[in-house]
């Protein structure tokens, strides 16, 4: 039966080729000597990370490094590990990772470092021993607190508000939500978190959820969304419910997606840092670590066109989250 013959050849083939030992990251097998930086988002097809990628691409062009952008397409926490592990064998020089789940990916990142690959984390940190530097756009506290403060300001420190989250299980969502609640309890006891609804990272679902919340909680004063697609969806829901003005909307989001609502005065403000700069800085930091220009213990980091950034410990500080509103939103196109 030919299948046995075939399987033999196959097995042979794989063993023969399989025994070729790994060409280390230093000299990437075959291809031209050029530092390769792998750029890992939490998930692809997500406006936030697309805009990070923009920055990353620009940085890569300016530095003349090869950039690999890849990440999970579907909500599967194991994927990130697989991708990182594949990159290890692929032999990249540095990895810039936004970590979906700390402990999970740290095991993979440690392995990478053991193989001499430099690791920089951005957006969400891994365990400290699993990376060289963390490009710190803002801590979860920072974000959570900022969101809550903004919410409180808009509601004059009292009344019900509802939270729309990306998904029940996504790590960053859980953290942000935690700090929002923490801040509320500490600072704004007169405000009530009426409900929390997940939208499974689907715009349509977010809009439906918001619509339902509006009718379920008649004296709702504000939507707070910790997911970028939640903000415009909630705004649209408010608009369609004809409650523009009565119910306010704040949250994390990109100017581009929210401009129209901010202008219509439905969304008061969206909070975000300059995502492109974040991506760009992460890539620059990664390549600097590879070239040795950036070493542990440095106090500052010169990031070319972006300017100079402070370093606290092993955190490169991008700067505080930025609040976009009517007045300034037109200055930003991401």
């Amino acid at each position: 039966m030919n299948i046995y013959l075939l399987s033999l050849t196959a097995a042979g083939l794989m063993i023969i080729t399989g025994c070729g030992n790994n060409t280390g990251p230093g000299q990437p097998g075959g291809v031209a000597k050029k530092t390769t930086i792998a750029f890992l988002p939490k998930s692809k097809g997500n406006a936030y990370f697309i805009s990070c990628k923009k920055g990353a691409d620009r940085a890569a062009r300016e530095l003349g490094v090869e950039l690999i952008f890849d990440g999970p397409t579907d909500p599967d926490p194991a994927r990130q590990n697989e991708i990182v592990e594949n990159w290890i064998t692929l032999g990249v020089d540095a990895i810039a990772a936004a970590c979906e789940n700390k402990e999970g990916i740290s095991t993979a990142l440690r392995k990478a470092r053991a193989k001499g690959i430099k690791v920089v984390t951005y957006d969400a940190d891994a365990l400290p021993d699993a990376r060289d530097f963390f490009v710190n756009q803002a801590t979860p506290e920072g974000i959570g607190y900022a969101l809550m403060d903004e919410a409180a300001r808009l509601c004059h420190n009292e009344g019900e508000f509802a939270v729309i989250i990306g998904s029940l299980t996504a790590a960053n969502q859980i953290e942000w939500r935690k700090y929002v609640e923490e801040r509320r309890a500490a600072q704004y006891p007169n405000m009530k978190m009426a409900a929390v609804r997940p939208c499974d990272d689907l715009k349509d679902k977010a809009q439906s959820e918001a619509t339902t919340l509006l009718s379920a909680y008649p004296n709702l004063k504000l939507f707070l969304s910790t997911t970028s697609l939640g903000v415009p969806s909630a705004a649209e829901a408010v608009k369609q419910a004809g409650k523009a003005g009565q119910v306010k909307v704040v949250g994390l989001g990109l100017p581009s997606e929210n401009r129209r609502y901010v202008k219509e005065g439905i969304t008061d403000s969206v909070i975000l840092w300059k995502t492109e700069d974040l991506g760009s800085l992460a890539v620059r930091a990664a390549s600097a670590v590879v070239s040795g220009a950036l070493k542990p213990g440095d106090k500052t980091f010169k990031a070319g066109s972006l300017g100079e950034f402070q370093i606290e410990g092993d955190n490169i500080i991008l700067g505080k989250p930025f609040i976009f509103n009517k007045d300034n939103i037109d200055q930003f196109d991401f």
Partner: protein
């Protein structure tokens, strides 16, 4: 040409292609990565082969994986059971869940597709309800993490497990009266019943096996990631089913082979891994998976059709017969 041989050729072709275009694809480390990453899917696909042979299907394995991971974490952390006991309990729970599906399918003669579709939401929902969505289980003892991350005598831990399990299932399906009765049931449940085969018990058996395997994969998954969360294993059911069908097992039951499934799993794993090494984005992997499946399905039929057309091009009969037999 046998379907398996066709698949094997396809696999070799993939391998050669990626060896050519991919950087560091043909290294031992990478081969091991491929094995490590196909651990859970591999196990599920093997179990589903048995299920599909009986003409059934189980859409709930992915969700069950999540539920079991959670239970495992809870038992270990909150009930503070010793790790091995937690494992056994998890396995028990998995088997129980499989039994639940089986009870509805055999007891009430409900279509497996629907029952397991319901279970698909139910199990995932329970996992989320138990953890309130947020709870994550981490800091498992390193001895346990070995199971998913370290190497045993040079091989990744998944390898021996997969090999053992595959051998077990292969023997079960191809060399025991159980496997024979699975096929009989898949071809004709009534016929099997009249032949004195305990249809109910056999069907129960495959679904319990599927549940058990889901629990196993849950443990393996937790060990590999070092954490357990309610979203573990999302979408794995479709990946596993794809592998099984790609492996030549008929979705209508009866025909199919375990080595076929293994080849199917390998083909998909190599595709996923190789494309990263060829520096192609993930989406391409998914896209090619779909096309590969279509090719594997339509290819033989098309060839047969063409042959018949050459024979009697004017006659509609062969097409119709195809339709009935398919």
């Amino acid at each position: 040409m046998r379907h398996e041989s066709f698949l094997l050729l396809m696999l070799i072709a993939e391998w050669l292609l990626f060896a050519a275009v991919g950087r560091n694809f043909t290294t031992l480390d990478n081969t091991f990565d491929i094995i490590r990453h196909s651990g859970e899917i591999g196990l599920l696909a093997l179990a589903l082969t048995a299920v599909i042979l009986t003409g059934g299907i189980d859409l709930s394995v992915g969700s069950l994986l999540g539920l079991c991971a959670i239970l495992f974490g809870k038992l270990w952390r909150d009930a503070s059971l010793p790790i091995w006991l937690a494992m056994t309990c998890t396995l028990g729970a998995g088997a129980l869940a499989g039994g639940f599906n089986a009870a509805l399918i055999t007891g009430l003669r409900l279509p497996p597709l629907i029952v397991t579709l319901g279970a698909f939401s139910l199990f995932r929902g329970l996992a989320e309800a138990i953890t309130r969505g947020m709870d994550t289980f981490t800091n498992f003892p390193p001895t346990f993490l070995r199971l998913g991350q370290e190497r045993w005598l040079g091989l990744p831990a998944q390898a021996p497990i997969l090999i053992l399990f595959a051998t077990g299932i292969w023997l079960l399906v191809h060399r025991t009266t159980f496997g024979r009765s699975f096929r009989a049931i898949g071809f004709s449940p009534e016929g099997a019943r009249y032949a004195g085969i305990p249809v109910g018990r056999r069907v129960t058996m495959v679904y319990v096996l599927a549940g058990l395997t889901a629990a196993m994969s849950a443990i393996l998954y937790t060990a590999r990631l070092g954490q357990a969360k309610a979203d573990a294993g999302t979408g794995y059911e479709l990946l596993a089913i794809t592998a099984v069908v790609l492996g030549g097992t008929s979705i209508f039951g009866g025909t199919g082979s375990v080595h076929g499934t293994l080849l199917g799993v390998a083909a998909l794993a190599v595709l996923n891994n190789g494309l990263v090494h060829a520096r192609q984005p993930r989406e391409v992997a998914g896209l090619l998976t779909g096309l590969l499946l279509l090719l594997a399905l339509a290819g033989p039929v098309l060839l047969k059709k063409l042959a018949e057309r050459r024979g009697r091009w004017h006659s509609p009969a062969p097409a119709i017969q195809n339709n009935e037999t398919a």
